[in-house]
């Protein structure tokens, strides 16, 4: 994972709430076994007409938004399915951060593992950013170290889980870190009662 420190760039507003991960990346694109190549399928059904041509009225297809780095959107973003393909698609389209009043639990976790910065701000700050973002050249800056969002006349602090922050700032491989605690895992393992199930096949 690439480390995340400061993100500065233009915004794309998506002013609706409860955007579920089925909208972010529809099921037909989950059959691939690779981790990349999902960017072009972002918001596919909203971004395309029935015959697969790009819908000109969907903001993602506005050429002026092509360079946007920050997606600013309504509350409960990323609800529904646990598909990590959702943060992959957002990131692979070119976004580096999502700003919302609240992100769904699994989506927020997944994003923190893939280096997509999910920032939660009070709804009135999100509303102001969405207004500013009507200008495709308006910039926002998000600093993870100091946990601040700055844009024209707006400066907001945001909460962020310290461990997820550390992971994003360093870009470290989480598995390696956990494996360094092998002694603790092993001692928990030894204390597990014998009646707990195993999946060793009992039928054969």
């Amino acid at each position: 994972m690439k480390p995340v420190t400061t993100i500065t760039g233009t915004m794309m507003p998506l002013d609706r709430g409860d955007v579920d991960t089925d909208q972010i990346i529809p099921q037909q694109f989950l059959k691939r076994i690779e981790r990349d190549g999902y960017g072009e399928f972002l918001f596919y059904n909203w971004a395309h007409t029935d015959d697969g041509t790009p819908s000109s009225d969907f903001i993602l297809n506005d050429p002026a938004r092509r360079g946007a780095r920050v997606l600013v959107t309504g509350p409960n973003f990323g609800c529904g399915s646990s598909r990590e393909h959702a943060p992959w698609a957002i990131q692979q389209w070119g976004f580096e951060a999502v700003v919302t009043a609240s992100a769904a639990d699994i989506f927020r976790n997944n994003s923190s593992y893939v280096g997509l910065l999910v920032v939660e701000l009070p709804q009135d700050a999100v509303t102001r950013l969405i207004e500013m973002a009507s200008d495709p050249t308006a910039e926002v800056s998000i600093d993870l170290e100091s946990q601040t969002v700055t844009a024209d006349g707006l400066e907001e602090h945001f909460e962020f889980n310290p461990t997820a922050k550390e992971r994003l700032l360093t870009g470290l491989d989480g598995i390696g870190v956990t494996m360094s605690h092998d002694d603790l895992i092993a001692s928990h393992e030894e204390a597990r009662p014998a009646w707990l199930p195993t999946t060793v096949d009992v039928s054969s």
Partner: protein
């Protein structure tokens, strides 16, 4: 004296490896399916790591598989590649797999409980948001992403920020003709699609205690539709009776030890929840969703709401968009909505009791000529059980198509796609735009309500039929 604790807190405490924020928790059971695992195995292989506990990991295929003509193989080359990858990964890492030709194959959240793998007090994870289903046994069970799947494969542990606790107290008795599905849709309508975010819900009260395990699974399954991290129900006699004798359940002296450990898995009398919602089950009626999220539901006796009935501007806009997508007009009585398809199945309502409830409605009746109706059992075991009871004959005589087990039209990753513009009464859990196929219009209902709609060709209040 130790602090009184909730059921959630007790199960959490039992799994702490490193007590920090986030906490490192030990995973007792890792369920794997073909869609969210290939990138995890690839990552593991690339870094030269192995699966720490293949003996606590089990895989099945469900999301992308066909429900007809399996002997012909999988036609979709991408789905085939995905399933082949799982087979190969399980072979390489020594993981038990219920593959396409295994009589135990089925939807991951149907198979775990059915095989006796899901037990009280376990910590269960799976790369799937409906892992909350397993909480019906008093397990702490939640969905994770692919990076976390890789982490669990390698370490058998997971880092979790500790959720808060939420009690959903359901008093009274479910009226006759009202299903567990109606109860959970009623709960979601009350708390909203994000009412449970950052929380683990414990469902409590007389109405919950009275439920069978199948019904409890329907409830816990849809916890995620209320935004919750997990849903739990304290184990009791009903739970123990369900598990006893299942293939992976403890046996002999180990069984007695397990049962005595499970008995302590209840919320202490003075334990405090961070949040509480209260519902009276006796006032519930069958629900039908009209919109594109699972909180957009109304009683079957009601009508499609007007966006103006919402005070919150975001909700109002959402309602406008939902009505447009669903091609519905405010004020239309639910009973007047005609349907084109019926899907009976999924990890919410694809268990034997669900099929029995639907068959009871269907028996001696015929599916309306304009409706295409399918039954997709949640597992091949459910299918075999239903066939031994003759339910397949009831369904087939009525004009339903009787399929092999899988997720099918719940998410339409396989060929069972609902065509654009067509309307489906579905026993699944998500009515999102495009969920059952691009442009498909989903109405969430209980199995009995879906069955009745299949016969009538439009929604009916199943209570009127069951009376007769």
């Amino acid at each position: 004296m130790t602090e009184p604790r909730t059921l959630f807190q007790k199960v959490w405490d039992n799994h702490i490896v490193i007590d920090a924020d986030p906490t490192l928790l030990y995973v007792d059971l890792h369920l794997v399916h073909e869609v969210t695992s290939p990138q995890a195995f690839a990552g593991l292989n690339q870094s030269g790591r192995t699966v720490r506990r293949p003996d606590l990991t089990v895989a099945t295929v469900d999301h992308g598989i066909p429900t007809t003509g399996r002997s012909l193989g999988i036609r979709d080359p991408l789905s085939k590649r995905q399933i082949d990858a799982l087979v190969e990964n399980c072979m390489d890492h020594g993981i038990t797999m219920f593959g396409l030709d295994d009589p135990r194959q089925g939807i991951v959240h149907v198979v775990g409980p059915e095989q006796g793998l899901t037990q009280p007090g376990l910590l269960v994870v799976c790369g799937d948001s409906h892992t909350s289903t397993h909480g019906a046994f008093g397990a702490l069970a939640f969905g994770i992403g692919t990076t976390e799947v890789e982490h669990v494969l390698a370490t058998q542990t997971i880092w979790q920020a500790k959720p808060q606790s939420m009690a959903v107290e359901v008093e009274g008795e479910l009226p006759w003709g009202v299903a567990a599905k109606d109860l959970i849709l009623g709960i979601i309508a009350q708390i909203g699609v994000s009412g449970g975010t950052r929380h683990v819900i414990e469902y409590r009260g007389k109405a919950i205690h009275d439920l069978s395990m199948e019904q409890r699974m329907t409830i816990c399954n849809m916890s995620i539709e209320g935004g919750a991290r997990a849903g739990m129900i304290a184990p009791d006699e009903t739970t123990i009776r369900y598990i006893e004798g299942r293939p992976f359940a403890p046996k002999g002296a180990q069984w007695d030890k397990g049962v005595s450990a499970w008995e302590s898995l209840v919320t202490d009398p003075d334990a405090v929840f961070d949040k509480v919602a209260v519902l009276d089950a006796s006032r519930l009626v069958p629900h039908v969703s009209w919109g594109v999220n699972p909180a957009q539901t109304v009683p079957v006796t009601g009508s499609v709401p007007s966006p103006d009935s919402y005070d919150d501007p975001l909700q109002r806009d959402a309602a406008v968009r939902a009505l447009e997508y669903m091609a519905l007009r405010p004020g239309t009585p639910i009973l007047d909505i005609a349907i084109d398809h019926v899907f009976l199945g999924s990890c919410t309502n694809g268990r034997i009791e669900d099929l029995r409830a639907a068959a009871k409605v269907v028996e001696g009746r015929r599916v309306d000529s304009r409706v295409s109706a399918v039954v997709v059992p949640g597992s091949m075991q459910v299918k075999a059980q239903a066939e031994s009871e003759g339910l397949h004959e009831v369904f087939e005589a009525a004009g339903f198509s009787w399929r092999d087990a899988g997720c099918s039209s719940c998410l339409a990753m396989n060929p069972d796609v609902i065509p654009a513009g067509e309307r489906c009464a579905s026993t699944s859990n998500r009515n999102y735009e495009g969920r059952q196929g691009r442009g498909a219009r989903t109405h969430l209902v209980s199995p009995a309500m879906a069955a009745a709609a299949a016969v009538a060709g439009h929604f009916v209040d199943v209570r009127d039929w069951e009376d007769s």
